[in-house]
Amino acid sequence: MEGAALILAVVLALACVAFVARPFLREPEPEDDYLAGASPAEQERLRIAEARDRALAALKELEFDHRTGKISDADYRELVAPLRREAADALRALDPPKPEPKPDREDVRA
């Protein structure tokens, strides 16, 4: 029993070592071994995406609270405008409007 246990233990240890070494065995000389982190631009996009999600969720919540009578008409009017602005700003920042295509000469002539 002791011998069998030792064999099983060795098999377990070898299997674990092979699994741990797998990334190095699979790519002994990788082109790129760098752990990709978020670039400042990506972090900024994440921040804006969160601001957009927060603003949209807050708008939804505000509409619901207004419909269920938790918030008065006056409070609703006062709160809804800045939230819409926040959401619109975030959406614009995430997906800036494409510039209008310049009309080519033929279009101008026509």
Binding site: D33, L35, A38, L79
Partner: protein, 660 residues
């Protein structure tokens, strides 16, 4: 095969130490393959610990008494189900279960969040591995479940108190709760270490936190049910240090679950949230320390050991490292958003957090004060129930009130006029309930009367919320009430699941006040044929018997129960004398009357030589609402955690912005 178990633990220890060191280096230096290797080491450690767990389980089932652990916690006559539950009946097995659950949950969390938190994971892996290293170290060098000795003819057996069906489920669930809190802690610390303090670590760990909190809460209630039926003093919660050990992280995790919503909605309380996550995790370690170290006297503590100093050292490291990391990252954690109004949902969450944390700290002080007193003055001072009851009422009642008020206030700010309109109906129902109860004589317990009044307020506020929401949804389209209701809950699972959990807390409150404030006790020594009465019940002792159970001699006294002239049959209570364990346990009789919502609870204090029996009988009103609260609590949690397609789309959007 103890050698295989020992070897598997040594392999696991090597793997988690490697994952901690190599993973930390990979995160610090940005090495991709090394990070993948460290992650693989974490997964492989799970497999190795799984092998160790199987070896121990097989030894327990096969009564392999050459293992000291098996000999110390089982016997040949111990039923199979309890031989299996002996896995967590002792210290070494419990530590192995901790490590197994930690690696299982940690590996799953890492595997499932690869895309969403790819830049946080390089730090998450070494943090999880470092925590696992501590438990693996204990299991390899300090408290091995695979220590061997010459096998005795029979084992010592399992503590009779642990030979109870609830004890088969309570410890594993408790550990799922304790250990589960490691996941949000590891992600929070990794987010700080990697300076990625955006919302993703919260999104990634939300369900893990909720699940851990649910397991912990349900485990506390299962422990209470075990205490009610097995310990046999007639109560359900006694502010025992080990009970409190599970309550403290649960309270702090409850505060976190509320305050994290403020961060998601308003980008506020960012520092506070990482403090709460760290606090909940440190308290879960402290809970394990209290249960396992033997430093406190408790009916739930079944061990005396030398691992206390190790745990204290580890807790100190965790707390110091968390504080240091939070302080270093304060500049990026600070929120630009401020509280707009003291009358708003976020303000209500803030008040709720203050009361929850104050209650947790009060309980913590009650638990550690005897230890501090013993260390400083040389003798332990017991902190009794009156201390805890006082603070439970002082902080608990405002919390209950906030449970009703909070959902009725709008986010950002609410006018007092709109708030007054929202509160009108719940306040009217609460006042009416309070007045009726006062007229019915419930004023004998003022705190109970206030508790019931507040409970009525919260329940009516919840009903109002469901009603107004359904009506608002109906007004949007041509929907039936049922479809509007299911649509409302389905599209706002966190909110309405949360309300169901609030309803569970109200049920718990009503049950706890019922048994705590209005229970009746009577004691009598009865000879055969004699009768005692209590709250309309007449109990006649009709004789006793002694039988041989699978591993105990079971002595029972039969009592015939009559109420208002109606024969309700007989119940049997008594004692079990466990032969291998050389211990005796109380076996109470409980007769539940669902219509009257009360338990008749019969305890046999003593069998006298002359054949008479000393009985202690209680009538516990509303106690079953406490157990019902457990089921409602789980239902609410499940609604909250249920996968939501819109939430998945939101996660996918987040993942799209995360680095590849």
């Amino acid at each position: 095969m103890p050698e295989l178990g020992r070897a598997a633990l040594v392999v696991a220890f090597g793997l988690v130490v490697y994952a901690a060191i190599a993973g930390g280096y990979a995160a610090f230096r940005g090495r991709r393959r090394l990070h993948e290797s460290a992650t693989n080491a974490l997964f492989a450690a799970l497999a190795a610990v799984g092998v160790a767990a199987l070896v121990l389980l097989a030894a327990l089932v096969r009564h392999d008494f050459s293992l000291v652990y098996v000999a110390d916690h089982t016997s040949r006559e111990l039923p199979l189900r309890y031989a299996i539950s002996a896995f967590w009946g002792g210290q070494e097995g419990s530590l192995l279960l901790w490590l197994l659950v930690l690696l299982g949950l940690g590996s799953a969390a890492v595997a499932l969040n690869r895309k969403l938190t790819s830049d946080v994971l390089p730090w998450t892996v070494p943090i999880l591995a470092a925590i696992a290293s501590f438990f693996a170290l204990l299991l390899v060098f300090v408290a091995s479940p695979f220590a061997t000795a010459t096998a005795p003819a029979d084992g010592v057996g399992l503590n009779p108190s642990l030979q109870n069906p609830y004890m088969m489920a309570h410890p594993p669930l408790l550990y799922l709760g304790y250990v589960g809190l490691t996941v949000p802690f590891a992600f929070a610390m990794a987010a700080l270490a990697s300076e990625r303090t955006d919302e993703r670590w919260i999104v990634a760990t939300r369900r893990w936190t909720l699940a851990s909190w649910t397991f912990l809460g349900f485990a506390i209630l299962l422990g209470a049910k075990w205490a009610y039926e097995e310990v046999g003093w007639g109560g359900w919660y006694a502010w025992d240090p080990v009970e409190n050990a599970a309550l403290m992280p649960w309270l702090v995790a409850t505060a976190f679950l509320h305050s994290v919503m403020v961060q998601e909605k308003k980008n506020m309380l960012r520092v506070w949230n990482v403090v709460l996550v760290s606090g909940a995790f440190a308290l879960s370690l402290f809970g394990t320390f209290l249960t396992r170290s033997g430093v406190i006297s408790s009916i739930h503590s079944f061990t005396q050991s030398s691992i206390g100093a190790w745990f204290l050292g580890f807790i100190a490291i965790v707390v110091a490292a968390s504080i240091a990391l939070i302080l270093v990252r304060l500049p990026v954690l600070r929120s630009p958003t401020r509280l707009e109004s003291l009358v708003s949902r976020e303000a209500a969450f803030l008040y709720n957090n203050l009361f929850l944390v104050a209650l947790a700290l009060t309980v913590l002080w009650g638990v550690v004060y005897p230890l501090v007193s013993e260390a400083v003055r040389g003798f332990a001072v017991t902190v009794g129930a009156p201390y805890y009851d006082f603070f439970a009422i002082a902080f608990g009642l405002p919390l209950v009130l906030l449970m009703g008020v909070g959902p009725l206030i709008a986010w950002r700010r609410a006018s007092l006029r709109a708030l007054g309109t929202s509160l009108l109906w719940p306040a009217a129902v609460a006042l009416l309930t309070g007045s009726l109860l006062l007229l019915a004589g419930a004023g004998s317990s003022p705190a109970g009367l206030v508790g019931y009044t507040f409970a009525a307020f919260v329940l009516s506020a919840i009903v109002l919320e469901f009603t107004r929401g359904t009506r608002a949804r109906r007004s949007l389209g041509d929907e039936s009430w049922v479809s509007a209701f299911t649509g409302l809950v389905g599209r706002n699972r966190r909110r309405y699941g949360g309300y169901v959990v609030h309803a569970a807390i109200v049920l718990l409150l009503v049950g706890a006040v019922g048994i705590g404030g209005f229970s009746t006790t009577r004691e009598a020594k009865l000879a055969s044929g004699e009768t005692m009465t209590i709250e309309g019940y007449a109990l006649t002792y009709t004789g006793s018997s002694q039988t041989r159970g699978p591993n105990a001699v079971e002595q029972r006294a039969r009592v015939n129960v009559v109420r208002d002239g109606e024969d309700l049959g007989s119940v049997s209570a008594g004692k079990n004398r466990y032969l291998a364990e050389q211990q005796t346990s109380n076996e109470v009789a409980i007769r539940t009357d669902w219509l009257r919502a009360q338990d008749l609870f019969v305890i046999v204090d003593r069998f006298y030589a002359d054949g008479s029996v000393g009985f202690k009988v209680l009538v516990n009103p509303l106690v079953n609402l406490i157990w019902l609260a457990g089921l409602v609590f789980v239902l609410g949690s499940l609604i909250t955690m249920w996968p939501d397609a819109r939430e998945q789309r939101r996660l996918a959007r987040h993942a799209a912005y995360a680095p590849a």
